[in-house]
């Protein structure tokens, strides 16, 4: 594995104006490249604030942030913003363009990408998120899920190293949510991106390679889904729940069924259960 973290957060503290408690409290975190990281925590835990420090939307009062080994500063910030794309929570309030294609091009326009190149990349990105047929549509006619797919295309067109989904699915209906999650899974297969999903949805978090649990602006714990999801008590304490498969597994184990003593995702659980099927 590459040894330089793509994002390196060192002792970052940040308080919003007039707030009594800091939103981020001496937090340190390393994110390695080409991984899928889920940053989880309840509403108000500081997880979105943390993400906003990654590209300088929020400037911490103390501590440093390094992007791919470089310190985030006035000089590097615009370069970082090009390499790190964020899809935010509210599908309506981040759609800048008047039509789908315009919105995808917006970031490239800001960076002065020549028009011929934009045309190619807009098409490519929109096809990637399956929204090419909608390129002339205005946002008012799109569903929430479709708008978020367009936002994702806007990020992809910039050829980023890091894609952040900041609660990008939390305002969507189930259909929109599964569309976005499916796309994220495809992206993981296709490209060499680091994906950071900021979420309180455990099913979304379960897809990640690493889960980072945050509360009161502090890092509580970090680990693989199996390391995190076997700590049901701890998750509850911080306002979250475990995935259904883990709940079923622990209940069955408690009832005396001989399942392995580790986290199983749904596929693994079904496979394990089948080996225990009494009619085999």
């Amino acid at each position: 594995m590459n040894s330089t973290p793509i994002i390196d957060v060192k002792n970052v503290t940040y308080s919003y104006p007039y707030a009594e408690q800091p939103a981020l409290n001496q937090i340190s975190l390393q994110i390695m490249p080409d991984q899928w990281i889920a940053i989880v925590g309840h509403n108000g835990s500081g997880k979105s604030t943390l993400a906003k420090t990654f590209n300088g939307l929020i400037e911490p009062q103390s501590g440093e942030i390094y992007f791919n080994g470089e310190l985030l500063s006035e000089e590097t910030i615009w370069d970082v913003r090009r390499q790190l794309g964020i899809v935010f929570q509210n599908p309506d309030n981040q759609f800048v363009g008047a039509t789908v294609a315009d919105d995808v091009a917006f970031g490239m326009e800001n960076n002065g990408v020549p028009r011929e190149k934009m045309l190619v990349r807009v098409e490519e990105a929109l096809k990637q998120v399956r929204m090419w047929d909608y390129r002339h549509q205005e946002p008012a006619r799109l569903s929430g899920g479709q708008k978020q797919r367009v936002e994702l295309a806007g990020v992809l067109a910039q050829r980023p190293k890091v894609i952040i989904l900041d609660e990008a699915t939390s305002m969507l209906d189930p259909q929109g949510r599964s569309e976005i999650i499916e796309l994220m899974m495809q992206l993981r297969e296709q490209g060499d991106f680091t994906i950071i999903s900021i979420t309180h949805d455990v099913d979304e978090a379960a897809l990640a390679d690493q889960i980072v649990l945050i509360d009161s602006g502090e890092l509580i714990t970090q680990g693989t889904p199996s390391e995190i999801f076997t700590q049901a008590e701890r998750l509850h304490e911080h306002g979250l729940i475990v995935p259904l498969s883990e709940q079923v597994r622990t209940d069955l184990v408690a009832a005396g069924v001989g399942l392995p003593d580790k986290y199983l995702d749904e596929t693994q659980l079904v496979d394990e259960l089948w080996t225990l099927h009494s009619n085999m």
């Binding site: 309840h42 509403n43 569903s143 259904l244 079923v248 005396g256």
Partner: protein, 289 residues
């Protein structure tokens, strides 16, 4: 108070080239004291139906009986005032309706509109805030200074303060985290049980339908596709998939288990039901090497 739909049709922008059908021949009865969930895809007509429940929309044809007041195309706005008090409507992201300088005033707003004196309204507002778990120390704050979850509660209190007989909820937990979601749903359950308020819940959260509703109405293309208990509605997984409906969270796991060869005589809707059905089909742990 019962609410009854009789052959209700609703057309958006009638007599224009953009006319679209919102509701088609809806016949439905919401019985006093029940807890009914309305489910269906986005655009299936749920929101249109919901706005008929307190006459924010009037049927293009047919009529809605709310208590003993009939609402038809021709019903005048003036006749609807009392009815609006008895049917409380909590919209999606209700915190966007907050506007007063203090939390207390905002909650007292509706009772005052419905003829309560300043003192009475404030009294009711205090009680309602306690009911939704907002502490006295927050009463004099600006609503906009509260956290997202608190704002949601204050907004809900603002509707509850009308002391409605029917409470209509449009995705009341949208955007909340798991714990916040649970707390809000339990709050409604408590009000339903303690005060006998009828609850009509529009939601995408099928687990909530299973956990709380005693009836579920499935909407599809402006029509009622199915009415029944959650157990009846969720019995047929293929039918649900065909109507693009979500399953309760147990559903996906059950489908996978069925594909492997596990047998279920009914659709297990909760983890406990799933466990009860699963265990007899498994060898005991001791038999495993």
């Amino acid at each position: 108070m019962d609410i009854t739909f009789e052959h209700v049709n609703y057309t958006y922008q009638p007599n224009s080239p953009l006319a679209t059908l919102g509701l088609k021949d809806i016949n439905l009865k919401f019985t006093s004291g029940s807890y009914v969930a309305i489910i269906g895809q986005t655009g299936s007509g749920k929101s249109t139906l919901l706005q008929h429940l307190n006459a924010l929309l009037r049927p293009s044809s047919g009529r809605v009986l709310i208590g003993d007041q009939a609402v038809m195309t021709t019903t005048k706005n003036k006749e609807l005032h009392d009815l609006r008090r008895s049917v409380g409507l909590v919209f999606q992201f209700p915190e966007s309706q907050l506007f007063e300088e203090t939390v207390l005033k905002d909650v007292a707003f509706a009772p005052k509109n419905f003829g309560k004196s300043e003192a009475e309204a404030t009294e009711i507002a205090r009680d309602t805030l306690r009911l939704v778990g907002i502490d006295e120390s927050l009463e004099d704050k600006m609503p906009f200074d509260l956290s997202g979850g608190q704002m949601r509660r204050v907004a809900i209190a603002g509707v509850l303060a009308m002391q409605p007989e029917v409470l209509v909820l449009d995705e009341p937990t949208a955007g909340l985290d798991p714990l916040g979601r649970q707390q809000i749903m339990q709050l409604f359950q408590r009000i339903h049980e303690e005060r006998g308020i009828t609850i009509i819940l529009v939601t995408h959260q099928m687990d909530d339908v299973v956990a709380y509703a005693d009836q579920a109405v499935v909407m599809s293309h402006g029509e009622i596709a199915k009415v029944g208990t959650p157990a009846e509605v969720f019995a047929d997984l293929d039918w649900l998939t065909a109507h693009n409906l979500e399953l309760p969270s147990t559903g996906r796991l059950v489908q996978r288990l069925q594909q492997k060869g596990f047998k279920f005589t009914r659709m297990p809707l909760t983890v406990n039901e799933l466990l009860a059905d699963l265990e007899p089909q498994l060898k005991r742990g001791s038999q495993l090497g």
